[in-house]
């Protein structure tokens, strides 16, 4: 069972994907060794554990690696099912809805946010991307109303799958606002999500993990500079 086990997480303090895995482990009260990967470097262990993508996060459980953040979250939910609240709902239809929104967030919504983060100054596309990010948040506001059923989180009483999938990006949304000078979080447009975000960021399993926005901005500028340098070479 969960007792004597070797658990390592390869990650970085800034990565929203890594934060997802850490929230899940916190929800289940599971201890682990966190191995920080530096920006621009990839350790031997990372390359060996994730040869296909060479990316963080990687969870290594008794020597066996698990890659891809939402796959890691589901794995944690399954292995430590009894140790803490369920991350995915129990009903198959509700689980499908949770997975649907997790896919939407990663495949459709986040790439737009990323565009804003790495955009050069005065990029025309930034304004359009910002509008699309806001439209996405409005869709998620409706999803929150349906999924939460009046409770605190998408997952109901406790932090669940969609909370983790979306909430991990919250610091980056604020960083993007400052970096690009756009307003993405509007209490008028997404009142329920704004309330949710506050509760999410102060939840026990989450509060110590959310990075400071200023540090994210600094990090974001470094990532942007590296990407732009690579593009011109």
């Amino acid at each position: 069972m969960a007792g004597d086990q070797e658990l390592k997480l390869l990650g970085s303090w800034a990565s929203p994907f890594v934060i997802r895995a850490r929230i899940a482990l916190n929800l289940k009260g599971v201890g682990y060794e966190f191995l920080e990967e530096g920006l621009g470097t990839k350790s031997e262990l990372l390359l060996k554990s994730n040869p296909v993508y060479k990316q963080i996060p990687v969870l290594i459980h008794n020597g066996k690696p698990i890659c891809e953040s939402m796959i890691i979250v589901q794995y944690i939910d399954e292995v430590w099912a009894a140790a803490g609240p369920s991350i995915l709902p129990s009903d198959p239809y509700d689980r499908a809805i949770a997975r649907f929104w997790a896919v939407y967030i990663d495949d459709k919504w986040f790439p737009l946010l990323w565009k804003i983060i790495i955009a050069k100054a005065d990029d025309e596309e930034t304004a359009e991307a910002a509008e699309q990010v806001i439209a996405g948040l409005q869709l998620l506001e409706e999803a929150f109303e349906k999924c939460s059923k009046g409770k605190d989180f998408f997952g109901g009483k406790s932090v669940g799958c969609i909370d983790i999938a979306l909430g991990c990006y919250f610091g980056w949304v604020k960083a993007a606002e400052k970096m690009a000078g756009v307003k993405l979080l509007d209490k008028e447009k997404i009142p329920l999500l704004m309330g949710w975000a506050e509760r999410f960021c102060s939840a026990d399993a989450v509060k110590e993990l959310m990075p400071e926005v200023d540090k994210l901005i600094e990090h974001g500028k470094m990532v942007r500079a590296r990407l732009n340098a690579a593009a011109t070479n």
Binding site: I66, E68, I71, Q74, Y93, F100, Y104
Partner: protein, 225 residues
């Protein structure tokens, strides 16, 4: 009484085929509704307002979209002939490979078939490498799922008739017995299994469809010059 199951799909789509294969494997009766994607039905728009795409599975009036999400729902709802293993690590690995197929294999292969020149050569190389990675994962197993068809096999169904047809239309070779013998053998085994063969579109009709698509694209390009 069992709640009715409907699948909204497009006969040319490998994503829709995945859903039908899974339902057939589990012996679940369903009604198939063919969508004209140039003229989407009001029902489709109601059931998948976010993406307005197929496939959509509707079970007892409740819609689910996104093929891999649908496959997991089918697995959890109808327990016969499981497509995911019990062991959590093996389940995580199956999910990893289906994501690899959806995010890397399929899109890059698709792009390589429709691009030209230097870009096409680069994408072809990347496709062949992705197929080699898949082949190493398959190793000596009959199916990715082991002795029986699993989630990864179903996700990889594009490697059956679609790849054959598209290579012919594009006039390039990416996947064949010589380059990927193990994966090629798997494809034949997969295509001839009972649950799969009834779901695959007829090869000659698929060929006509994609030839027409290519001609349409060339005409558009010519018109733009």
């Amino acid at each position: 009484m069992a709640e009715e199951v409907k699948v909204f799909g497009r006969w040319t789509s490998p994503f829709c085929c995945r859903v039908e294969i899974a339902l057939r494997l589990k012996g679940v009766p369903y009604e198939y509704i063919e969508e004209d994607l140039s003229n989407k039905s009001p029902l489709l728009l109601e059931y998948n307002p976010v993406h307005k795409k197929v496939p959509v599975l509707v079970h007892g009036g409740k819609p689910i979209a996104e093929s891999l999400v649908v496959l997991e729902y089918i697995e959890e709802t109808w327990r016969r002939n499981p497509i995911l293993p019990e062991d959590p690590h093996r389940r995580a690995m199956a999910r990893f490979w289906t994501k690899f197929i959806d995010e890397k294999c399929m899109p890059i292969m698709w792009k390589s078939l429709w691009s030209e020149g230097e870009m096409q050569l680069k994408l072809m190389e990347e496709t062949k490498e992705n197929l080699s990675i898949l082949e190493r994962e398959l190793n000596s197993k009959k199916f990715f799922g082991g002795n029986s068809i699993g989630l990864v096999d179903i996700a990889a169904s594009f490697l059956s008739c679609w790849t054959e047809v598209l290579q012919e239309v594009a006039g390039i070779s990416l996947f064949g017995e010589a380059k990927h013998p193990i994966l090629f053998k798997w494809a034949n085994e997969f295509m001839s299994s009972d649950a799969v063969k009834v779901c695959l579109p007829p090869k000659d009709e698929l060929l006509s469809h994609f030839r027409a698509m290519k001609e349409g694209m060339s005409a558009t390009k010519a018109g733009q010059n």
